[in-house]
């Protein structure tokens, strides 16, 4: 007896020519993620250990770390990074779990779902500014209540925004992370057989929330673990949100590292690099701690489940879950509304609830810049998303045809650019690219964006792709269609909606990139976000309002298209409307 597969493979090779390129795609994609991150981290490690030839520094050793340790703000900066990251991740996960447990599958939940895309589209910095203006002592909430309810003619001197504990920062992060975790959880939920599991559990007498947490949550959490890690790493290292909402005496470690990186004293680059390395170590430590926490919670959870409590009095818990989620959505959307108002505001004094006049001056002033940057932003987003989508389809198709599935290690690699703090590898990467002779330009920035777009696109596409009924492929093959025809005529058209959603996610990720655009582009590549952050550094709320709206629109339009186009194209195809 012989292995007929290998024989056949030899005989039929000419027919399956594309197979030679396809199996290489996962490798290519992995290299694409690994090399830049690796090169960048090396480029940061070198100055951290005293090697920065351009500044005339060649003293290998731990001097930079000693210098960092001597900085009096270090304990507070580290604490802030850990607390803000850990608490906001924990809260985001808790809110998502509570809302899903309390409301998934209900009509109320459809409304929650409809809010997701707009919430995801609001850029972090814009959301932070909006929130700051809502809750500051001179913000909209107090303006609306003053002076009739509070008696204030002048804003009170309360430390709400930028409080030393980072509570406002945590609130801002939670408001922005909840939609992301929710999106990921919904994707995972699609794979768990939640409906029937819930029916069984509830028929056994379990309350809705208890049933969900005991039966469905373990399945969902296993799927969203890595995205949760991403949220943890992101929250610990976020810069733009922390500058606006976080304390500055001292700021969080990532903010301080970026500040040092920009210090005119070139020797500070070493301290900045050391801080970036410490930040990387903190993130790794926090991930390890989280992982240990997972095991502890799992052990406790198993005991809790085995104890068999039914948890019936859940009315208040359900309302609280919805209330908190509603509050975080209102914070983002309300903040955006307030920024929209600012973008057309004339003078607006405390405690007037409305501006004293409206003017289009800010929009006309920024119109020219907007036109140019919108075009550049769109080109970069479209090309990087297209590349990422092609790579993702290549990887998934290789998985389907050749069983080349990314293992656990591969999945970590995929997340590498999202887990390694941007401050820890982008400056090094920028130097490495210069060394390699790559000029910072639109092309280089687009390539750098792919680094961050690809993981999200792959995540967004992977589940629907794998959930696709492979028997359609078998049927098509039996009808004589080769693997390529199956891909182009059956699989891709049937997956149009998830493809467009993945593309919209990709575009919104690309639109939001700040540091990669700035550092890799050498400042020459201007997008809506680089302009918005530059203006945000000035703190002009009117300008921020204009750019925040433009940025949100740039991310929201693709989401709208992703929802609308399939409905239009498949208007007469009932079978395409679900799944």
């Amino acid at each position: 007896m012989t292995d007929v597969r290998s024989q056949g493979a030899a005989r039929h090779r000419p027919q399956r020519r594309p197979a030679r390129v396809l199996p290489a795609v996962p490798m290519l994609a992995t290299a694409f993620l690994l090399l830049p991150v690796g090169a960048g981290v090396l480029g940061t490690l070198a100055p951290a250990f005293g090697v920065l030839p351009a500044a005339g520094v060649m003293q290998p050793g731990l001097g930079a770390f000693a210098d960092l340790a001597a900085w009096p703000g270090l304990p507070d900066a580290v604490r802030l990074s850990l607390v803000a990251g850990g608490v906001s991740t924990l809260l985001s996960l808790a809110v998502v779990t509570a809302v899903l447990a309390a409301w998934s599958g209900t009509r109320t939940f459809a409304a929650v779902r409809a809010l997701l895309s707009p919430l995801l589209s609001v850029p972090h910095a814009a959301a932070a500014f909006g929130l700051a203006f809502l809750i500051a002592p001179s913000g909209w909430i107090l303006r609306a209540l003053s002076p009739w309810a509070t008696g204030f003619d002048r804003p009170p001197d309360w430390l709400i925004v930028q409080d030393p504990w980072g509570l406002t920062l945590i609130a801002g992060l939670v408001a922005k992370e909840v939609p992301f975790v929710m999106l990921m959880a919904l994707a995972a939920l699609g794979q768990a057989d939640a409906g029937r599991a819930m029916t069984v559990a509830r028929s056994l007498g379990y309350g809705r929330m208890t049933a969900w947490v005991k039966v469905v949550f373990p399945q969902v959490y296993r799927q969203i673990r890595l995205p949760v890690y991403v949220v943890l790493a992101f929250s610990m290292t976020v810069v733009d949100v922390a500058i606006v909402l976080g304390p500055n005496t001292p700021p969080s470690l990532a903010v301080q590292a970026v500040k040092w990186m920009g210090d005119p004293d070139l020797a500070m680059r070493l301290r900045a690099a050391a801080a970036a390395v410490l930040q990387l170590a903190l993130v790794l430590g926090a991930l390890a701690a989280w992982w240990l926490g997972e095991r502890a919670v799992a052990a406790l959870g198993r005991r809790w489940i085995a104890a068999g409590g039914r948890g019936r009095r859940e009315v208040w818990a359900r309302r609280a879950a919805l209330g908190i989620a509603g509050l975080s959505a209102a914070a983002v959307l309300g903040g955006l509304a307030v920024l929209a108002l600012w973008s057309v505001a004339g003078f607006w004094a405390f405690p007037d609830p409305w501006p004293s006049g409206l003017t289009m001056q800010n929009w006309t002033r920024h119109a020219m810049t907007l036109n140019a940057t919108v075009a550049e932003t769109a080109v970069i987003a479209a090309v990087s998303t297209l590349i990422a989508l092609t790579l993702a389809i290549g990887c998934l198709e290789a998985e389907m045809r050749h069983g080349l599935r990314l293992g656990a290690a591969g999945l970590w690699l995929l997340y590498l650019p999202l887990l390694v703090p941007q401050v820890a590898f982008l400056p090094g990467l920028s130097t490495a690219m210069l060394l390699a002779g790559v000029q910072g330009g639109t092309a280089a920035v687009t390539a750098a964006h792919v680094l961050f777009v690809f993981p999200y696109v792959f995540l967004a596409l992977g589940d629907p792709w794998r959930a696709w009924d492979r028997r359609y492929g078998t049927v098509a093959s039996a009808l004589g269609a080769g693997p390529d025809r199956v891909l182009w005529s059956v699989r891709l058209p049937m997956l149009l909606a998830p493809l467009l959603t993945a593309a919209a996610v990709g575009v919104s990720v690309s639109v939001g990139q700040y540091l990669p655009t700035l550092l890799i582009g050498g400042g020459r590549v201007q997008t809506l976000t680089t302009d918005a952050v530059a203006l945000a550094s000035g703190g002009d709320r009117r300008a921020i309002g204009v750019f925040a709206l433009a940025q949100t629109a740039a991310a929201l339009v693709p989401f709208a298209l992703a929802i609308g186009l399939p409905r239009l194209i498949y208007a007469r195809r009932g079978g395409m409307r679900h799944g």
Binding site: V4, R401, L479, G480, G482
Partner: protein
């Protein structure tokens, strides 16, 4: 035996464990039923015949169709049609486009292909349905279109994977008759996997039990 579908000492292994082992010959115009409980290897058998099993599965032995060795051929080059329990009409294509998907590429010209599709629809009593959305068809209509789509691709053998189990009793009998009749008319060897004894009885052919 040169005519028909034959499985010559076929063995399917997974990581060295033997999942399935059988010898089988299906003559043209006859239906062989394979029965067995869940997990007895029915879908593995279909996968082996279709050529959709990939590593770590190992398929040993010979699978022949009309004398030609199918081993190692990709599914699209085997000339074997398949009908599943669900109709699996492509939801993004119209009824006509679904049928045209099965037409061999050798049939050239838009008008000629269109005519072939219309003729096929008339044959199953669904003339004028070409532009319809498959989602709007009744269960019986879907099965008829799915069968016709398979037959249009001119297969030289037919596999049935519990094709009638989703239908109610009346329709089931009706559809069985239609499928078997058309397969016999084209003298196709038919291999049917089922757990419904009535299916096997109606097939009026050899019955093989697995597991």
């Amino acid at each position: 035996m040169d005519e028909g579908l034959s499985l010559d000492r076929v063995q399917v292994r997974l990581n060295g464990r033997v999942l399935l082992s059988l010898d089988l010959a299906v003559a043209p115009g006859t239906v062989t039923s394979v029965m067995g409980p869940s997990g007895s290897g029915k879908s593995t058998l279909l996968g082996a015949v279709m050529g959709t099993l990939s590593a770590p599965f190992e398929v040993l032995g010979r699978i022949r169709l009309d004398g030609a060795d199918l081993s190692g051929r990709p599914p699209e080059a085997r000339g074997i049609g398949i009908l599943f329990q669900d109709d699996l009409l492509f939801p993004h294509l119209s009824v006509g486009a679904n049928l045209a998907f099965g037409l061999p590429p050798g049939l050239r010209g838009r008008a000629a292909r269109r005519a072939a599709v219309d003729a096929a629809l008339s044959e199953i009593g669904m003339a004028g349905f070409a532009a319809r959305d498959p989602g709007s068809l009744s269960g019986g209509q879907k099965i008829r279109v799915a069968l016709m789509r398979t037959l249009l691709s001119e297969p030289r053998a037919l596999l049935l994977d519990e094709p009638f189990s989703s239908l109610d009793a009346d329709l089931r009998a009706q559809m069985r008759t239609m499928v078997f009749a058309r397969a016999r008319a084209r003298t196709l060897p038919v291999l049917m996997v089922t757990h419904d004894a009535e299916d096997a009885a109606a097939a009026d052919g050899p019955v093989l039990r697995l597991g």
